[in-house]
Assembly symmetry: C2
Homo-oligomer: 313 residues x 2
Amino acid sequence: MAVLLSVTGFDPSRWWEALHNAAPERKIVVDPAAAGDEPIDYAVVWKQPPGLLATLPHLKAVFSLGAGVDHILADRDLPDVPIIRIVADDLKERMSEYVVWRVLDHFRRGRAYRQQQMQKIWHERMQPAAREITVGIMGLGVLGQDAAEKLRVMGFEVTGWSRREKTVEGVTTFAGNAGLPAFLESADILVVLLPLTADTRGIIDATLLAGLRRETPLGGPVLINAGRGALQDEAAILEALDSDRLMEASLDVFTVEPLPSDSRLWIHPKVFVTPHAAALSDPDALAPIVMRQIAAHERGEALNNLVDRSAGY
Amino acid sequence: MAVLLSVTGFDPSRWWEALHNAAPERKIVVDPAAAGDEPIDYAVVWKQPPGLLATLPHLKAVFSLGAGVDHILADRDLPDVPIIRIVADDLKERMSEYVVWRVLDHFRRGRAYRQQQMQKIWHERMQPAAREITVGIMGLGVLGQDAAEKLRVMGFEVTGWSRREKTVEGVTTFAGNAGLPAFLESADILVVLLPLTADTRGIIDATLLAGLRRETPLGGPVLINAGRGALQDEAAILEALDSDRLMEASLDVFTVEPLPSDSRLWIHPKVFVTPHAAALSDPDALAPIVMRQIAAHERGEALNNLVDRSAGY
């Protein structure tokens, strides 16, 4: 039995090594032909070449190297086998670091103080208390719930929105299209951690941005997107920033990655750009989780963290 | 009975209003002469003019408008009455926001990503996990302990140093001069929240900086000072930054405030300057605490949060 590691966009060698170290007895191949006579029972993938998985007759399950699975489901010839997302403390903690970091930087006026420093201006800015600020989180999965908990520890009010109704301790939740207007109205800082599905594609558009509170204790609403670039309409975000409808934005993901050098997001003074680095998938932390799940499945145990293909996440 | 509000460096009117609103029946004066025949039993001060308090024969207690009291004790003619520091959730929460914000910004490579954005460089930086980083906190009072707890929630290892031995849950603690070398060696990011006393004046000097770990998962140690400017030797900090002995620094306090425009700290690319804004003393949040303590004392109750004048904090 062999495991196929199939990625595009980066060098698979660190992942190969980590998977190998996690289970040295398994054959891990990056090219199906290298498996020889051994059947390929499992695939571990990031943006696998379309059609590749359909050529593996023995395939029992597909594992994603990240929290999202849209890169797997984009394959129109995807065989009908279970798809498993990675759920790992490491990934969750890194994402919450990014969210709390960006919320605090906007909330504590990092941009204004960096500008003042460049001009040698000693001036204390008006600073609301965290309890006066509501952070609204779109997407209440494992990542959204962990970020909510940490933001609450920091003193923020937290609201949340998800497609299906959810109950999260200490968080006022809203659900579905019907709940969206009231959710948007609740948020001074909007954090997007949604999966990319047919329902969520392009959801951060002019209409959504127009639904955010106009007056906030910080002077205007803030957008933070660490979900997927295809969730956002970048022209609408730029227009909202230019018209002061949005105060500032932190974007980690973009409709085209790497962000093209002619994108105005790179040079907009109100935008903070990171290169899809909010939550690095650390092979050493994540590979053992995948290999343990494969071993458990081989022993006949059920797979955890299965993706609902009809919902898209 | 009247209360004297005596501040220098800023307009006292917001404090006057907040104290008045908290106890409208009390006479609050900013000039002792305005009390007329009424004795001044209490003073609420920030850097009171030296000698002023000694002219008040009825004075029963002095309240500080901030967490520190060095600005009160600097008065050589200070009468021998109890001095009370403010202990308030609002102040503590604001300070912890600043500490977590600055730790995350250094840890998540804010400076590097801002530079990359200016150059339109799409490049994911090596990012250790929070559990690989130790934040060392100097000063384990109310502020240091709250910051420690929030940093632990974010996943960091936390160590602490104080003059006298302290036990703080989940924090490895060190004490006194004997404990300082091992403490410094433990820290990847050093956070200073010490009170300014005869013992701590100038403590952040070349010797202390040379005692920090040389190799850290971030590439070098980081200094964050939100205590008092007089704790730090600014020439030594600049020298440590120039020689790459220190990787970066966030400074909220300075030996001379406002920071003079010819200070190289303003323009050093590795330094983030804020104008003594880490924890704003919000009159509306703090005045009721002071006035409640005065009322309790008038009823014969003991005063809380008394300063130990011999220790200086």
